[in-house]
């Protein structure tokens, strides 16, 4: 059983554990709960600068109004393809049969996010098409 001195020491130590203090530590810990980030907007997540750059490229091509949603959906689809590449690698050369099963299950889960992202991409393309014709 823990002694009262030990309990007091634990409480004192716990009071000092108030999370990361440096900017780097805070930047790292704020992504602790992030699993894949596919269910949130890429603009709210860590990829915002990348998406804004891509939107600027689309805007330069003339798609000003729909540049941001188009960039967001394109960026999400690219990330999904990257994740799928990693999952397929884990299926082709699995560390264990269980690992292969998990990777195939995750491929199935990824498909849901892909469907949503593609739906957004097609909606943006349709909006651009209707805007110009």
């Amino acid at each position: 059983m823990t002694s009262s001195e030990k309990q007091a020491a634990n409480r004192r130590n716990a009071k000092r554990s108030t999370g990361p203090r440096t900017a780097r530590g805070k930047a790292r810990s704020k992504r602790n709960a992030l699993k894949h980030g596919l269910s949130v907007s890429a603009l709210d997540a860590f990829a915002a600068p990348e998406v804004r750059d891509l939107a600027a490229r689309f805007a330069a091509e003339g798609f000003v109004a729909e540049a941001l949603p188009l960039a967001e959906a394109s960026h999400d689809l690219r990330r999904i393809r990257e994740i799928r590449d990693a999952l397929v690698s884990a299926v082709v050369a699995p560390r264990s049969p269980e690992g292969r099963r998990t990777s195939i299950t995750n491929l199935g889960r990824l498909e849901r996010y892909e469907r949503r992202a593609r739906s957004r991409l097609l909606a943006s393309l349709r909006a651009i098409f209707l805007a110009y014709y």
Partner: protein
């Protein structure tokens, strides 16, 4: 609606490919079989970079498939290029899922006995079947979207041409 203000600028593949070649650095791919060049917009190349290769994958397939699709579907603007590039990605995904399925289903010789992997992966086989089916549906969806866009844009172009001819005749 005028051609000069429309960024889509649908006036044939040749024109769009020339415009893309002068506007941004793009890579030309030659097709010896047809001896025609397809210029893929640079932004498409950036968005759809080559996937990881696995044993048995053809490294040239990624480029060749886009080239073949571009020849067959003749994307005339960036919207259509995005659809064609997405179609290629879905085709390649379906091929991958089929390969994985084949890998799981193929029997293996262990100590003189034939072992069928799929007995251990029955639920995964179902999932892969579903993914293949989704790919097929997505392909159909993209193709019908592309077809609809082409039909509408060509009708509108024809209407614009008729209008131009009528206006010219009226002015004369």
């Amino acid at each position: 609606m005028t051609q000069s203000t429309n960024p889509l600028h649908l006036s044939g593949r040749e024109q769009s490919t020339e415009a893309a070649a002068t506007k941004s650095p793009s890579k030309s791919v030659s097709n010896p079989a047809r001896d025609r060049k397809v210029t893929v917009p640079a932004i498409i190349r950036e968005l759809y970079s080559a996937p990881t290769l696995y044993p048995g994958d053809d490294p040239a397939l990624f480029e060749r498939l886009l080239e073949e699709l571009a020849h067959a579907l003749a994307p005339a603007d960036l919207i259509q290029w995005l659809l064609v590039a997405d179609l290629r990605a879905v085709i390649l995904d379906e091929r991958r899922y089929r390969k994985i399925l084949d890998m799981i289903m193929s029997p293996k010789e262990t100590n003189g006995a034939t072992v069928y992997n799929f007995q251990n992966y029955s639920s995964e086989v179902e999932k892969l079947d579903y993914l293949i089916e989704r790919c097929r549906k997505t392909k159909t969806g993209i193709l019908s979207r592309l077809d609809a866009m082409k039909t509408v844009s060509s009708s509108l172009h024809r209407a614009t041409e008729i209008e131009d001819v009528e206006l010219t005749e009226a002015a004369e």
